[in-house]
């Protein structure tokens, strides 16, 4: 089979190169020798015969090279030769090489880092089911000091949102304080995500074990319950499923473990465990301390939800929003969560990306200029090569070999830099 034979030859030519070349040399020299013998038999002297023989076959090295050019693996061989040549060139001018490498590494690294931020912020969807149905609420002011942004809400707003807006499943979180956890003999300082009953429903996270909070547990003075994050469950409780229903001590009080979250669960609260917020209109509920998250129910639309929110919230008695300017018009509208969460950072992220892009452009332009200067300085060398018989293709090949090495090698440091 021709293909198998070719592959074998390719392997042999690349791996056993010295052997193969030695045999080729012997073969061509033996041919010269036979010819020389014949000429000596005709009466030439030995050196004359040799020279005539070599001329007759067209030069030993030329013949060897024409075989090398056409055997399997010649392309790879010449590519490898060009790479080695390019590397030698670069090593001989370390100043240029180091500068160029650093420039490329830093600019590529910066771009990679910034892109990954932008990617997570704006391009990748939130890791929840149907993220386009998740949202938060913006408050729009007209009049003096007009603005349109996300605000925390107070206890009254929360209760109205929960009870009078059937188009949405709503939840609030109240921050993630650190608390002391005592479990058996272990004591740990962990982050406690204080969230309302349907928080995990809004996020679309099903607990791996057990359940989430009931509305009873979310009422002030309701039964104390805690949901463990998967990481905490594995490290502190050794993935023991029997922890369900058992109490652990938080802030010195016993809390019953009612559920454990799955390993891939990510929440905006970003906590080790979760307790019920138990919001009311008093205490922290008298001020705007709650962060609202919503999910549109299946048959509802955002317009319905917004109408219901506005109806519910504009009929409140104490409207803190009007405290600065009683004549301002206040309205509320839902905003998709991805945009809402990232909105503050969006302009900065975009600006950074643009800046990094420009830096890369400038770096490339600089390098191109430097490389051009170097290439021009070598025009005498190229002329010599072509006079000796190199094809244009060959010259182009080696000219581009050193810049190509640049392209490939900064990948490593730039990965490190980013």
């Amino acid at each position: 089979m021709a293909l198998a034979s070719q592959i074998g030859s390719l392997f042999r030519n690349l791996v056993r190169k010295r052997q193969v070349d030695q045999q080729l040399d012997e073969e061509v020299r033996s041919c010269v020798q036979i010819l020389a013998d014949e000429k000596m038999a005709e009466g030439m002297t030995a050196p004359e015969a040799r020279r005539a023989a070599q001329a007759e076959i067209g030069g030993i090295d030329q013949v060897k090279q024409s075989v090398r050019d056409r055997r399997a693996g010649s392309g790879i061989e010449s590519l490898w030769q060009d790479v080695r040549f390019g590397t030698r060139q670069l090593l001989r001018s370390p100043g240029f090489t180091v500068t160029a490498l650093l420039t490329l590494a830093l600019s590529i690294g910066a771009n990679t880092a910034i892109f990954s931020i932008v990617n997570v912020l704006m391009l990748k969807s939130l890791p929840y089911p149907h993220p386009e149905r998740m949202g938060t609420i913006y408050t729009r002011f007209t009049g003096r000091g007009a603005s349109d942004e996300r605000h925390n809400i107070n206890g009254e707003q929360w209760e109205l949102l929960r009870d009078n807006v059937p188009a949405l499943i709503s939840a609030v979180s109240g921050g993630t304080p650190g608390v002391n956890l005592e479990a058996g003999s272990a004591v740990r300082y962990v982050a406690d995500g204080r969230v309302s009953a349907h928080y995990f429903d809004v996020l679309g996270i099903q607990p791996m074990l057990g359940r989430t909070f009931t509305e009873d547990e979310d009422r002030p003075h309701g039964p104390p319950a805690v949901i463990l994050g998967n990481g905490l469950w594995r490290t502190l409780f050794s993935s023991d499923a029997a922890i369900l229903g058992k109490p652990i001590r938080l802030k010195g009080e016993p809390f019953t473990v009612i559920g454990v979250l799955p390993p891939d669960a990510i929440t905006p609260a970003n906590a080790d465990l979760y307790t019920a917020l138990q919001p009311s209109r008093n205490g922290e509920g008298s001020g705007t301390n709650f962060d609202a998250f919503t999910r549109l129910r299946d048959s509802a639309t955002w317009q319905e939800a917004d109408a219901e929110i506005n109806r519910a919230w504009t009929t409140r008695e104490h409207r803190y929003e009007k405290s600065d300017d009683p004549n301002a018009t206040v309205s509320y509208h839902s905003v998709p969560l991805q945009g809402g969460q990232a909105a503050e950072l969006r302009p900065q992220a975009l600006a950074l990306m643009l800046a990094a892009g420009f830096i890369l452009l400038i770096a490339c332009a600089n390098l191109a200029g430097l490389t051009l200067v170097r290439m021009m300085r070598r025009s005498a060398e190229v002329a010599t090569r072509m006079a000796l018989g190199a094809s244009r293709w060959h010259c182009a090949g080696f000219s581009f070999s050193s810049p190509s090495i640049f392209f490939l090698s900064p990948m490593c440091p730039s990965m490190g830099a980013s």
């Binding site: 089979m1 021709a2 198998a4 034979s5 070719q6 030859s9 045999q23 080729l24 012997e26 073969e27 061509v28 033996s30 041919c31 020798q33 036979i34 010819l35 013998d37 076959i57 067209g58 030329q62 013949v63 024409s66 075989v67 050019d69 056409r70 055997r71 399997a72």
Partner: protein
């Protein structure tokens, strides 16, 4: 070999080498001389074209090589046809016959 002959021979060099080796095993120089002989001097293949072709055909599996002794007891690399090479010879002979017939018809036509 000058350029006029090169163009003609590129497709047929393989065929000539296979034919030359059909009768006996030869080393590189010997193949060149045999080709010259059987074409009555029309085709003179220089080592610069012959050796690349020989190596290429060996890589394709049509020839195999071994080291032996030449007429005046010099070490030389000999070539012989493999089974695949013999098959290839027949294939190329048929192909050549078809081409020759087609050309003859084309030139006969008015």
């Amino acid at each position: 070999m000058d350029s006029k002959q090169t163009n003609l021979l590129q497709g047929t060099l393989d065929l000539l080498i296979l034919k030359a080796l059909a009768a006996m095993e030869l080393h590189g120089l010997g193949i060149s001389r045999r080709v010259e002989q059987i074409t009555h001097g029309t085709f003179v293949v220089k080592p610069g074209s012959l050796f690349p072709a020989l190596h290429r055909m060996e890589e394709a599996g049509w020839l195999s090589s071994f080291w032996g002794e030449s007429e005046n007891n010099r070490r030389a690399k000999y070539y012989r046809l493999t089974k695949a090479g013999k098959k290839q010879l027949e294939t190329e002979k048929e192909e050549w016959a078809r081409v020759a017939l087609a050309m003859a018809n084309a030139l006969k036509a008015t």
